[in-house]
Amino acid sequence: MVKKVKKILIVLAIALIATFLNACQTGPTLRLLNWGEYLNPEVVDLFEEEYGIRVIQSIADSNELFYSKIKSQTTAYDLVIPSDYMVEKMVDEDMLIELDYELLPNFDNVTYMDGVNQIYASMAATTLTRTGESVDYTDYAVPYFWGTFGIIYNNRVDGLEEALNENGWDVYFDSENYFPTASRGMYDVAQFAYAAALMYLGENPNDYNTTLLNDAKTAIEGANFSEWGTDTLKRNVESDNLDMAFVYTGDYLDRLYIQLDEGRTIDEIQSDFNIYIPETTMVFIDNMVIPYTATNLDAAHKFINFLLNPEIMALNGESVGYAVTTEEAYDIVVSHIDDEDAFYHNWAYANMTYYNKDREGTFYPLTALPNDDIDAINTMIQQIRTE
């Protein structure tokens, strides 16, 4: 009797193992760890068609999850798309493989946008803690998309737009003197709040010491945030439930494109809600990097090279809505400004307005602060929220 059951158990076990072995199909594959809906399926199709490499995508919603996924080694990804500070952290911990530029011929044909160069310059300026020497991050990373942060605001509040343009960060953080009844939201990422507070205080958002921490705490308390969220921030400003929030510019564009789809005009939408991008603001750049666990370096390089093609990068930007990183791709995007197709026209217009390559300002990408500092910042934010 027990034997029979054992037989069944064995069959079940074999079936289980077989299914999982089946999952590892034959043929070359590219395991990509990405943000959700951050890659145009058309690009995937073209890539698969051209190189015969199947793209398997996993998604996660934060750099920290990328990190823990790679660190835990539970899956060998060939390509990951983390942001700037996470690239630093990964390089710092020897988690990335240096790129072979021989395999990236398209690289020589592109010029990065000013903003992107600024970010890279800033990243290169930081010093690696372990080796004590500066590293050229371009050895490890190729830009994918980039973007700024800004303050999305409810334009139905009288005078808010003017006040923001005039006084910038003060309007957002100083709730005592500016719009005391307005509701303010902040991204539910402690370091974002900390960095924003430092920019408001005129400090470098990547500096860290206990004085700054206390100052930032006071500033954040002064802002009296009513909401700590992620994707809900933009929706709440859009629907008149929230007045200001510090978000990705891409968050605004996401809602903008959706409303354009509904048939509204850009003017109408902007008069409902808009985004203010301060002169000094945070920026991010998502990069294609190859983690040390990668098994198919060839495919990874092919993919990077493929996306460096301005046409492909523009095509990718078409569905994703973040800012392309090369001037060549940017030119393709903005060339649509005279397009009769409303979508292409609006797309070009939005890029020129919100991601203009000639925008002046100081852009700070976040730095990978040491664990203890991050922990202290997290604790500080939690303290504010538990008071």
Partner: protein, 295 residues
């Protein structure tokens, strides 16, 4: 005979020491009771109703309803990532449910045949995966599976996901089957064995039908828990094998969720409800019984 009735005075509650509740009070209480019951059930379903409304909204602006549109339903098919996630969910949840149901039934029978004291100890253990915090379970299982990686480098994915789901679904099956086992006549199996039926056959032919209700209930719970889980899945998936909940969490990072997700959720709920109603109607027609109706 009615005349006879008139002859007798009617006995009242008062003369037996009880207060008569006025009819209108009774009525009010009755109405209040059903109102409250339906209100609670309505609130249980409130979030689902909102999801259904969102799925019918022509606009992707979630705070305002534009007009009714079914566009998001066929659009499910146009979202390759969503489709993959749905397929993965079905694959993982159905494998996990079927395996958990079969194994859970065997295990429950096994545990049931232990001595009482032993059984109680193991049933206690059985509760740990159910009651443990998801994040602890998810993380500790991942640690476990990582130990296997030197042997099977590609273990993370379907296999680990199914194993992790088995970890918390089997206890639910056992919990549902065990009470049914206790209700069965202890002589049932002996009688079958006495008649010369082989133990395994006896189990399948005699015991399993007797505990069918428990097995079904356990299966349903297992399926629900498997579909609903995010945290444990998150830690134990890999290699692009994202189920729906992992996918939904992931998408929020950079982009807006497609309303087709709402459409899918609504479909799933509707199909289940319609299936249930159909099943009950058919059964009632067949038996002409009134299981479902109030007496």
């Amino acid at each position: 005979m009615t005349e006879k009735r008139i002859d007798y005075p009617v006995a009242t509650l008062e003369e037996y020491g009880y207060r008569e509740t006025p009819a209108y009070v009774k009525k009010i209480i009755k109405v209040l009771k059903s109102v409250l019951t339906y209100l609670v059930i309505f609130f249980l379903y409130l979030s689902i109703i909102v999801i259904a409304i969102q799925s019918l909204n022509s606009s992707r602006v979630m705070s305002a309803f534009d007009h009714v549109s079914f566009q998001w339903y066929p659009n499910i098919l146009n979202e390759p990532e969503l489709m993959t996630a749905i397929k993965n969910t079905f694959l993982v949840s159905s494998i996990a449910t079927v395996v958990a149901t079969i194994l859970g039934t065997f295990f429950a029978i096994g545990l049931y045949s232990l001595e009482k004291k032993r059984r109680q100890q193991w049933m206690l253990m059985n509760n740990v995966p159910i009651l443990n915090a998801d994040i602890v379970t998810g993380f500790s299982l991942m640690l476990m599976f990582r130990l296997l990686m030197p042997l099977f480098p590609n273990i993370f994915g379907l296999f680990t996901l199914v194993m992790a789901h088995l970890f918390f679904t089997i206890p639910y099956v056992i919990l549902n089957v065990m009470p049914k086992l206790k209700e069965t006549d202890p002589n049932l199996m002996d009688a079958a064995l006495d008649l010369g039926v082989r133990p395994f056959k006896a189990m399948l032919k005699v015991l399993v039908p007797a505990i069918k209700a428990g097995i079904f209930a356990g299966m349903l719970m297992a399926l629900t828990m498997s579909i609903d889980d995010f945290v444990i899945s998150y830690f134990n998936t890999g290699a692009g094998f994202d189920n729906l909940s992992v996918w939904i969490y992931g998408v929020i990072g950079r982009r807006e969720l497609t309303p087709s997700v709402y459409a899918f959720s609504t479909l799933l709920t509707l199909f289940t409800l319609v299936g249930l109603v159909l099943y009950e109607t058919l059964k009632n027609n067949k038996k002409k019984g009134k299981l479902w109706l109030r007496k």
